[in-house]
Symmetry: C2
Subunit: 272 residues, 2 copies
DNA sequence: ACCGTCGTTCCGTAAAGCGGAACGCACTGT
DNA sequence: ACAGTGCGTTCCGCTTTACGGAACGACGGT
């Protein structure tokens, strides 16, 4: 499970500061309850209550309500887990982006061309979410597929998107930088410099800044918005460092840029 | 969009009877709000309020709360759509079933063996939800991939699961039968007969009962529960009728049953 | 058989959300 | 250009609703 790759945390401490910046408190806490299941697969009322700092009865009611709504499911022993209705909603959410269907052919060709894993990422908040990933079939080493979500600052996808979106860039800078490896860039000034370089070059790189041994190159997928191209997603190639940043780098850069440009054009064409 | 394949409905009528059988009314209505987006991609406060029969102000607050939680996203013009956090949760939900990862290899082999589209389906409520689908690469005719969810009564997957789960069978019978094609079985007595035959044979069929021209054969994936095998999912082969129910039927039946049995065994082995 | 823990239920209190109406804005048809 | 219509959002008082604490029943380990 993903828990293994996370830093150890006190499960019985109130980690959520109960961020209530909106009305409808019950809905906010209901979402917070869902969030608890992002880290742990199966939870009961007591753990949820402890984690959120709410009464056990409240947690119990929340769980029951979410379960009748199908967002959670009851396991055998009275505990709960994420429900399959969430899968349904999630599929609808990405299907309606009209992005995956358009990008999949280009991703397949790029994978065949480079024989590496190709990712399609979008931004949610200050994180990068990988909506699709096609892996080279006969690879003996596979990128750890547990990572569906990265902080944006340390990934090439996040950089290529932040380079074209000043609001995202400032959000990332305000959020702060977490060091994952000795190579992770955590200096704001250096980060700004990287974004400037990314803007000039039209692609971004990340050298072992999130997972030791793994690097990536990303190019933006854009949509015309107000006459100017605006990045909405990115294609990235992720592989062991020597295979993307070594002598193959020019080929990878050219390949991913062409593929991303093709997806951008197809997206524009599919815009009805 | 999926809307096109649905019967025409009055969008401005209150379709949801406001089923509040649970406490935490706000959470229930919040889930109902999410449900609205299952049928339509983009909605505003007014339409949601009309559809659920609630005040416009209430709908607006709900939408805002769900958006701050990431379950919804704002579009440019003040309307909302399903948020990508739902995709994240949905992926976690299926990943934790430990089902897709186990089934994917067998599905790939079955696809290569039969050169047809293979589906992995589970039951949610009285519907079948397809968690994974691998399509034969060089098929000129593709099954309409918009269908991620079917009513259980008209699909081979639903029958093979209902045959081994009396509770599901009665739920389907109580829910009632909708006719999609001239071939759809809508007689309860005939349906019971089909379930009995399914139990004997160990597989189920559906002959153009949901989509004209398309038929399917399904076999159950089981897990041992209380000493008895209990169906938890099903593999199905879907293709134009002549390709699954014609002279190839014995090969298809044998292939899908073997694959499902292998997944069941792997699932048992992976159970830690 | 005991005790600890968990999920669930009950109940009084107080806060939280509901509905109606008013506001600001964007678009449209004259 | 202008008014009209539709939208999403906000405000406010009243009522409902959900919160928290404690008690209950069940399960499982010792």
């Amino acid at each position: 499970m993903t828990v293994l790759s996370l830093p150890p945390l006190d499960l019985d401490a109130a980690v959520a500061p109960a961020e209530d910046d909106s009305p409808l408190r019950s809905v906010s806490t209901a979402v917070a309850v869902l969030d608890c299941f992002a880290e742990e697969a199966e939870l009961g009322a007591t753990r949820v209550a402890a984690r959120l700092g709410i009464a056990k009865s409240t947690a119990c009611r929340m769980l029951a309500a979410l379960a009748t709504g199908g967002l959670l499911e009851r396991t055998g022993s009275g505990r709960y887990r994420l429900g399959l209705r969430l899968f349904e909603y999630g599929q609808l959410a990405v299907d309606r982006l009209m992005l995956r269907d358009v990008a999949l052919p280009a991703m397949g060709e790029l994978r065949e061309l480079l024989r590496e894993t190709i990712q399609l990422g979008v931004v949610v908040g200050t994180d990068v979410l990988y909506v699709e990933r096609t892996e080279a079939a006969s690879m003996n080493v596979r990128f750890r597929s547990e990572h569906r979500r990265n902080p944006a600052h340390s990934s090439s996808t996040g950089r290529v998107l932040a380079a074209g979106d000043p609001a995202l860039a400032t959000a990332i800078l305000e959020r702060g930088f977490v060091r994952y490896t000795p190579f992770t860039v955590v200096d704001p000034q250096r980060y700004r410099q990287i974004l400037a370089t990314t803007r000039e070059q039209g692609y971004a790189t990340s050298r072992e800044e999130f997972e030791p041994g793994w690097s990536s190159i990303a190019a933006p997928i854009t949509m015309m918005r107000g006459g100017r191209p605006h990045p909405v997603a990115a294609l990235s190639v992720v592989a062991p460092t020597s295979r993307v940043l070594g002598h193959r780098k020019p080929a990878v850069v050219q390949g991913v840029r062409r593929a991303a440009a093709r997806v951008s054009a197809d997206l524009e064409r599919a815009r009805s």
